[in-house]
């Protein structure tokens, strides 16, 4: 599927974001994220990757510009509905008080309380744990006692409990050991394929972006410099800065 014939999930036009101290965290961002694709946001620290992904389920709002989801301006979608449909997995996810099962129940109850709850496909907790690569025996564990990798998987399972269409991941592996990180990435790839999720993932590991994504977006200094199919971006990017970063790692 190419970008041209895909349905667009997110479409950003002329998006600007400015921090309190008048520094642009995003500048003139134009970007389309096609439905069903796995999109990696890459670039040096401070490029604006996390700022951008946080706009997509309205954890933050842009200073100007427009963002649409499924053709609707995101401000016109009730914010709780948007967040249920567009799940967010944090870099260092906070566990809620209680067990793993109770953490999943929080998300399930929120989805069940949605106005259109009947139309949402809410997975069983065991199924969500299985999809996220967590042993179902973990359900009774105290969520606060989990290791970093386990927390990340539980937070993915928790996000799946709202029956989302899109999964946003903000550097999900940056705090993890390389082999734990590899397992998380394999899980994300499997999820995208088996659940037809649209995935947008911020990562600073280029091999990770290349392994998991179908499209890659290169950002630098608050701008989107170049975006395209991952294979093209990692073999023949047209922009010189993108070439330096993606091919030579600098």
């Amino acid at each position: 599927m190419t970008a041209a014939d895909a349905v667009t999930a997110f479409s950003l036009r002329q998006v600007q974001q400015i921090r309190g101290d008048d520094v642009h965290t995003l500048r003139d961002v134009d970007l389309d994220i096609p439905r069903g694709e796995v999109v990696a946001l890459v670039g040096p620290s401070g490029a604006g990757k996390t700022s951008l992904i946080r706009l997509l389920n309205r954890l933050d709002s842009p200073a100007s510009g427009s963002i649409t989801y499924d053709g609707s301006l995101i401000e016109t979608i009730p914010v709780r509905e948007l967040r249920r449909r567009v799940a967010f997995v944090f870099q260092a996810p906070a566990m809620f008080p209680g067990t793993v099962a109770e953490n999943l129940a929080v998300a399930r109850d929120l989805a069940r309380a949605a106005p259109n709850a009947g139309a949402i496909k809410i997975p069983e907790p065991d199924e969500a744990l299985h999809l996220a690569g967590v042993d179902p025996a973990f359900a009774s564990r105290d969520a606060q006692s989990l290791s970093g990798g386990e927390r990340q998987r539980v937070s993915i399972a928790r996000a799946l409990m709202t029956g989302p269409e899109t999964l946003l991941l903000d550097e999900p592996t940056s705090a993890l050991d390389p082999d734990v990180a590899d397992h998380i990435i394999a899980t994300v790839r499997m999820l995208a394929a088996s659940m037809q999720l649209t995935v947008v993932m911020v990562t600073h590991r280029l091999e990770e972006a290349r392994a998991v994504s179908t499209r890659t977006v290169f950002m630098e200094a608050a701008r989107v410099i170049e975006a395209g199919p991952t294979e093209t971006m990692f073999t023949a990017p047209t922009n010189e800065r993108a070439r330096n970063f993606l091919l030579r790692g600098k």
Partner: protein, 268 residues
């Protein structure tokens, strides 16, 4: 209810002369000496504090004498209002965040919490005639507002630190589509416990560990201890209600200032 008769009381009270007060002042000098000896840097503070205490208390003594003598409802209400504003200012002055908004929040919360409590005690419990009797209303409101003030300050301060500490957790709730109320429920709960707990502790130990000031005063003033105790029971129940009401209004209203209209956390 039997009211305390000042005439009979005064006969059994030792009158204090200014010289007696000067002797009492020696105890502040002890505190200043300890401060100088241990280099606490508090000696100057004690000197200023002692002078302030004398000036403030003497002034309030004259004000109360005037209010009790004139018995004008509008002067009584004006006094209560001044007390409310002073308490609100004290409760919000040392808060770290959103002080102007918090002044309105705390002031309204205390008006509700302390006002409802005072009106209830006035009309239902003591059945005062006239309803604005300054001899009762002002001391009672002083105790209510002092405790409500601590409740308001504790609720705001603790909510602020809980929201800071739980920022990740609150945002994780929001990101799943939770309402701000759901996302901050644990922070609000902890803030309320922190605000109300001192009042509960006071109920537990009153009469055992501490003899409350009002009761002590009544007993020294010549009232029967059993009358003093009845008043004190009214007072501690009153404080429980006032602190709980004030704290819950502060916590639930102040909570709203941590979120935007789009249900995002306000940036630090």
């Amino acid at each position: 209810m039997m009211l305390v008769a000042p005439q009979t009381a005064s006969s059994s009270v030792l009158a204090l002369s200014w010289l007696d007060l000067a002797f009492a002042g020696a105890l502040v000098i002890v505190a200043m000496a300890i401060s100088a000896w241990q280099r606490l840097g508090l000696a100057r503070g004690f000197a200023i504090g002692a002078v302030r205490a004398v000036v403030q208390l003497v002034a309030v003594g004259y004000v109360l004498t005037y209010l009790i003598a004139t018995r004008r409802w509008y002067l009584v209400l004006l006094t209560l209002l001044v007390m409310l504003v002073a308490a609100t200012k004290t409760a919000t002055d040392r808060q770290k965040r959103g002080r102007a908004k918090l002044f309105v929040i705390s002031g309204t919360a205390m008006l509700i919490g302390a006002g409802v409590t005072l009106a209830y005690v006035d009309v239902i419990v003591l059945r005062l005639h006239p309803w604005y009797d300054p001899q009762y209303l002002i001391p009672l409101f002083g105790m209510i507002i002092g405790n409500a003030m601590n409740g308001a300050a504790l609720a705001a301060d603790r909510l602020n630190s809980e929201m800071e500490l739980r920022r990740g957790e609150v945002e994780a709730y929001l990101a799943l589509g939770a309402s701000p109320a759901r996302a901050s429920a644990e922070a609000v709960r902890r803030a309320l416990v922190a605000a109300i707990m001192p009042t509960l502790n006071m109920l537990m130990v009153v009469g055992l560990v501490s003899l409350p000031g009002m009761m002590t005063g009544q007993i020294i003033g010549g009232s029967s201890p059993l009358t003093a105790v009845r008043y004190q029971i009214v007072v501690v129940f009153m404080l429980a209600g006032a602190v709980a009401m004030t704290s819950v209004v502060v916590a639930l209203w102040y909570r709203g200032t941590f979120f935007t209209a789009a249900e995002q956390l306000v940036s630090r």
